[in-house]
């Protein structure tokens, strides 16, 4: 049996593997060094690589991401941590105006090979300013690549691809998945950015999921199987590049599409997926595309309230049954 690793340890492992192979990789962020990260996603990095490559910063999100940009433009491959993805709003200028545009607006003169990692999503009861799923924020900006792994192996494989990428990557680590375990992939494991994965084969409907909604969809698929509904689950793994070819191939097999997102329905990434399927896959469909996303309210604190807002296994099962019966 393969060695197992948690999702949170996979983050540090993925970074460490790249730091071993490339001296240009450096890390910066709040409490990532001596404290080893508030989510313990940087455990061991300072010890192995030292203070020249692992830098604790002040609470200065603009300085963190802005400095990462300047360093990326001048020969390093910085991995910047923004502790909670909600805090991306504090440095949004860099992700909206600076990092994704500088290559383009200089006519290709400069590159920004950096990774901005951040803990994303709900499920831990952190309330409205520490629980949001904001991957859709990044999707609004042409010029950013976006990874959001659902398994420890994908954390390591996508981290390798993200750090090696000559393009900027926003890397969403899901808080609700941190404690989960999975097989430890071998050294050299790389998951190419923009390649979705069919993580469960099925015939009756396609469930497209990302990060936390992948295990939710897989759990729902188990329950659906007991009711003779065969669900195929596609893990997008990245929002940019967006692997629509795989989604369309799956819909060709199942003719039914359910999209499960943790970000809000308004402006959520599923709207982009649905519009492409409507444009290019309309003839493949036997039913309307259904989106199950977070309700359009701020994330509430209490578990019972949070469950009302974000997708749950029950909600996926109900939506899938209704779609299969269409």
């Amino acid at each position: 049996m393969a060695d197992m690793i948690t999702y949170r340890a996979a983050v540090a492992e993925g970074i460490a593997r790249e730091m071993r192979r490339d001296p240009a990789v450096v890390c910066l962020g709040e409490d990532i060094g001596a404290a080893e990260g508030v989510f313990k996603t940087t455990v061991g990095l300072l010890k192995e690589f030292g203070p020249e490559r692992v830098w604790d910063t002040p609470i200065s999100e603009q300085a963190i991401v802005g400095a990462a940009m300047g360093a990326a433009m001048t020969g390093l491959r910085p991995v910047a941590e923004i502790m909670f993805s909600d805090f991306l709003a504090c440095c949004w200028d860099y992700l909206a105006n600076e990092i994704p545009k500088v290559r383009y607006m200089t006519g290709g003169q400069v590159a920004v090979p950096l990774v901005v990692r951040t803990a994303n999503g709900g499920g831990l009861g952190f309330g409205a300013q520490h629980s949001q799923a904001v991957e859709n924020w990044a999707l609004t900006v042409p010029g950013l690549k976006i990874a959001a792994p659902s398994t420890p192996a994908d954390v390591i494989g996508l981290m390798a691809a993200a750090i090696r990428s000559d393009d900027p990557v926003v890397f969403f680590e899901h808080k609700g998945l941190m404690a989960g375990q999975g097989p430890l992939p071998p050294d050299g494991h790389v998951v190419e950015l923009g390649r979705a994965a069919v993580v469960r084969d099925g015939a009756d409907l396609t469930i497209v999921a990302l990060a936390s909604t992948v295990p939710t969809a897989l759990a729902a698929a188990d329950r659906l199987a007991a009711r003779d509904v065969s669900a195929e689950v596609v893990d997008l793994r990245c929002l940019v590049p967006l692997d629509m070819a795989m989604v369309l191939r799956s819909v060709e097999r199942t003719s039914h599409l359910l999209i499960v997102e943790e970000n809000p329905y308004q402006g959520g990434w599923g709207g982009t997926v649905a519009s492409i399927v409507a444009d290019e896959g309309f003839e493949l469909l036997d039913a309307p595309v259904r989106r199950l996303a977070a309700a359009c309210v701020p994330l509430p604190f209490a578990d019972v309230l949070e469950d009302q807002v974000i997708p749950t296994v029950d909600k996926v099962v109900q939506a899938a049954l209704a779609l299969a019966d269409y």
């Binding site: 603009q62 300047g70 433009m73 042409p142 940019v240 590049p241």
Partner: protein, 326 residues
């Protein structure tokens, strides 16, 4: 100490910038430059003086009022004017425009149009230089208005606590757009008076005296290269044109404008050259050459072709393209 020969070269560079800015103004008024321009006529001594104190491989970051910095760091009048005129031969292939002049091959890493955004980038470039041990430094030029935005504070603090080889140069022209900086700032010297907050010594210099700027930046650059950390310099200067486009700058008192025009950086440099015994004929020769160079640049930019429309879809990603999905 700057001798006559070098000062004459600096004078010529300033005169070329002045002539190019005047040409940009005239071309804008003639409808040949679209969008907007933020002319730096009057600020030449800051850019040229600082450049005289830098190594060729040092990094410079500037603002949307950045024509003078691009040219001080090696961009030609022709490629700058061509950029303003939306020509394929523009320094950014007509994808940046007036506010984003960049010449990465000579260390001019960009002009940024979100106020203050580039200060953290400069800190990051300095961090990169420090980690790579190259002895390079990074310089950020910014306006007085930028001293009231958060990125200024975050960048200065980070640069100071990390002891980065960075020089922050405020071009205080006394107006943030149309509002006197003194009306919106709690201290009389918007940059220098903040220095103590970062454990730095703020320095106010005559930004219209190219020699004074070169000496101040030279001292700061030496400190940075010696590992003594960043410096904050406030160079007092004045715009000869309005904030942007056709702004007549009527909000500035006539006697104030007159006082500053008497202290035109070109006049100050001429006086210094005369005092060093440079004959008037030598200055006239330079002025003639500059006039011819600007005329040739305008003619070449006018004659250049516009961009290939397909260029809109290049330079988003490192592979040169713009594909975001399969």
């Amino acid at each position: 100490m700057i001798g006559a020969e070098e000062l004459l070269r600096l004078y010529e560079r300033m005169a070329l910038i002045r002539g190019t800015e005047k040409a940009a103004h005239d071309l804008f008024m003639a409808g040949l430059v679209k969008g907007t321009t933020h002319l730096a006529a009057g600020h030449e001594a800051v850019a040229v003086g600082a450049s005289a104190a830098l190594r060729d491989d040092d990094y410079v970051f500037a603002t949307y009022r950045g024509h003078h910095h691009a040219m001080a760091r090696g961009a030609t009048a022709e490629e700058c004017l061509a950029e303003l005129m939306s020509k394929a031969t523009g320094v950014c292939k007509a994808k940046g425009g007036s506010m984003h002049l960049t010449k990465a091959s000579t260390g001019m890493l960009g002009s940024y149009a979100i106020v203050g955004a580039h200060l953290p980038m400069a800190a990051g470039a300095a961090w990169s230089a420090k980690l790579r041990g190259t002895g390079q430094i990074a310089v950020a030029f910014f306006g007085d208005g930028a001293t009231n935005i958060g990125a200024f504070h975050e960048a200065l603090n980070l640069a100071a606590v990390w002891s980065l080889p960075a020089v922050f140069v405020c071009e205080n022209n006394f107006y943030m757009e149309y509002t006197p900086i003194g009306k919106v700032t709690a201290v009389p010297n918007p940059a220098a008076d903040r220095a103590s907050a970062y454990g730095l010594t703020g320095e106010v210099v005559d930004g219209n005296d190219v020699v004074a700027v070169a000496e101040a930046v030279g001292r700061a650059a030496a400190r940075a290269r010696d590992g003594a950390g960043p410096s904050l310099i406030e160079a007092r200067t004045y715009r000869h044109y309005g904030h942007s486009r056709a702004d007549p700058a009527k909000y500035r008192p006539a006697e104030e404008v007159e006082r500053w025009l008497e202290r035109d950086p070109l006049n100050l440099a001429r006086a210094r050259l005369e005092a060093l015994g440079v004959p008037d004929a030598a200055l006239r020769e330079v002025d003639e050459r500059v006039r011819a160079d600007v005329d040739a640049a305008v003619a070449a930019a006018k004659a250049a072709p516009g961009p290939d429309p397909a260029e809109a879809f290049t330079d988003v990603w490192a592979d040169g393209g713009a594909a975001w999905r399969t």
